[in-house]
């Protein structure tokens, strides 16, 4: 059993302590916006926020996540109003297949929290998510649009 705080809600989940947070979020809490891509913290499709920091949830165990404030893509919006990253994503038509974009958006939201006006170099360093469709130009453009708003 584990108690996880996800998107401001407490979940008591029947999981082993070494279960990757990704699978507890997807299968036990039922929030499927966070995606499985590699399971070895390489691709970033499973990125969530843990106490505001972008983390690859496939590489974090449930026991490590207990007591932390976890935010997934489903918890990024405030009520009916989307997060500025989501709005920028829609305005720039960023996603192609979209599978990596939950993780991409979470990584970008964390970057902008830390650095509201990131340079290209900041983006290059912080955004290491894989996108096989190749949306990088739109991702960069959307980040700059937010930063200059």
């Amino acid at each position: 059993m584990a108690n996880l705080t996800i998107n401001g809600k407490t979940f008591t989940l029947d999981v082993e302590p070494d279960t990757p947070l990704l699978w507890a979020i997807r299968e036990n809490a039922g929030l499927t916006g966070t995606k499985y891509g590699c399971g070895i913290a390489q691709c970033g499709a499973c990125t969530v926020h843990m106490d505001g920091v972008a983390m690859r949830s496939c590489g974090v165990t449930v026991s490590e996540a207990e007591g932390k404030k976890i935010t997934t893509i489903e918890g990024l919006a405030s009520g009916d109003s989307l997060h500025k990253v989501q709005e920028a994503w829609i305005a720039q038509d960023v996603p192609q297949c979209g599978y990596c974009q939950s993780g991409m958006i979470m990584a970008v939201a964390a970057l902008l929290n830390e650095k509201p006006k990131p340079t290209d170099a900041d983006i290059d360093e912080a955004i290491t998510n894989i996108c096989r469709c190749g949306t990088f130009a739109q991702v960069r453009e959307a980040i700059h649009t937010i930063a200059s708003a």
Partner: protein
Amino acid sequence: MNKHVSPRMNRRAFVIGSAAVGAGLAIGLDIPFGGPAVVRAADGSPEIGAWVVVRPDDTVVIRIARSEMGQGSLTGLAQLVAEELECDWTKVTTEYPTPGQSVARKRVWGDFSTGGSRGIRSSQDYVRKGGATARVMLIQAAADAWKVPASECTAANSVITHTRSGRTTTYGKVAEAAAKLTPPADVKLKDPKDWKLIGKGVKRLDTVDKTTGAMIYGVDVKLPGMLNAAIKDCPVFGGKLKSFDEAKIAGMKGVKKVVKVGDTAVAVVADTWWHAKTALDALPIVWDEGDNAKVSSASIAKWLAEGLDDAQPAYVGNKNGDAKAAIASAAKKVEAVYSYPYQNHATMEPMNATAIYTADKCEVWCGTQNGEAAFAAVLEASGLPAEKCDVHKVMPGGGFGRRGQTDYVRQAVMIARQMPGTPIKLLWSREEDMAQGRYHPITQCKMTGAFDANNNLIALHYRLSGQSILFSLRPEALQNGMDPVAFQGVAQSGDAAFGYSVPNLLIEHAMRNPHVPPGFWRGVNVNHNAIYMECFMDELAQAAGQDPLEFRRKLMGNHPKHLAVLNAVAEKIGWDTPAPQGVYRGIAQVMGYGSYVAGAAEISVTDGSKIKVHRIVASTDPGYIVNPAQVERQIAGSFVYGLSALFYGGCTVKDGKIEQTNFDTYNSMRINEMPKVESVMVPSGGFWGGVGEPTIGVAAPAVLNAYFAATGKRIRHVPLRDQNITFA
């Protein structure tokens, strides 16, 4: 289990596939195209022909048969229908008919397959007619109500106007009456100059849910009572499952059942996928690997190299004059050998499908590039007739050709069949996805060029040795044993025609099919053919002492469309002006999928091994452009996919198995490595070419040619990581 390269097995799959999509299995619900009996969508709204449903609130639902997988075809196809329909674009939504519905209605929506960059180009005609047919019927219904001739009425933005009286009505108001009309036998399509929506970079229709986590991919499907399955298939292709020791995982948490899947695989079914995967990893499995376990990359390379020898048999794909004789008597000749490895599609979402099987019904939910092929696979694996099966397409997390195959669909049904009544979601681990690909085929190529005393290219011999995709996947499409698709980009004519005139030309393919199963991988054979040809063109230009662009231009006089895109990138990148200090340029062109494309790159190289790509310019002429914003993304995406394969890709074989297991050993470009692609669109009209794939052909050669310009060294093998060359 479409596993082996055995033609017999694949031919059987094809026959079943053909039957399923042909008249043989159509169950004969005789509903004519929008005929007098009103056909209703699930919500009760009437169909105005098979492609369009109009709701009372004027919402227009456009049916899409092809699959959206990120490439934007869903939006482009809707634009094509809406253009002719004259409807309000802001009230357009889309839906997928199921393959089962299509078969029941005698394939009223045509081909579902979404590969070969055909999504738009192969259906543009009939989907536009679908829109036009609905418009004519809606106008007729309004005219009937007003008791005026239809010729006095016009439609725009979902509003019908009687021009003489000024009366108006909307599509939603006349939809019921329109649905009862007999559709016109023929409709006239608009002249392209009158298009209002086609050619506009309107926003995609599927973006919002992709930003909120709400979009349902195959991996997200949930059904009541569903269990999850993890699978391992024999890692040596052609091998079999010998045994597994179920007792060793008895009592592991959540495990419900361990099942054999065909002759080659074993799956663990559990309450959660994590439990299934954990138990599968702990399950002792013995494989009967067979003789293929002796195969390695080295043994494949040796076998392919033997095929480069002229004494070995080969199929001739393109010929002009007598290349061998001209080379033998030439003043100067140049020769080089290139190679291209296996590549995995590595879609972000690993293969998966959810199936429920009972004695009366088998349904599958999955991402697929070919709903009808998936449907045929469900029929075959379930043993049930068409009217008892269906496939529900969900968003695929990438396709790139991999999801045109149906191996994962078949597996899901085979597992579900062993647990009737329980929905089973089968998900491959990334490791399984890497091990069980349908890989970009492996080839080598020996090219010989010959010059006369004035440095004119008089002969070219292009000898390809390696794997045929059709031999494995569609043997019925071979032509007297020859794979015509092997010549994509260097073909005599057609939608992937060679763009140079050489008086003595011989392009041939020594077919050698290793046991590793090949597949259609974005760009398919254009990938390696464009690298070989365009890099060798640079070698020839150098041998002739000429500028690579000028050298090409001289050979392209009879190929004006190829030349036009090449000129467009040359101009945009500033070929005639010096590059910035320390920056070097490369250029390439090819034709594929009915489109003409060219690319140019500016790079700098540090220590001969660290490449920084500063600029990429790409030009395309697909005839007509439906949505320039999406075409631009396909061009850029093709560079990301192509350069990822060039720098980081390459699947190697050891003991008959693929060695790469995940993104740590099969990496992909990140944002820091990829410059913005400057695209130049030069649609010349009069034909419809594809855009999802052709550009990938020029991505690698543009960079490789720039690398030579920077270092004086030729790279003739992929990937670069094997040669200790990386991104700076």
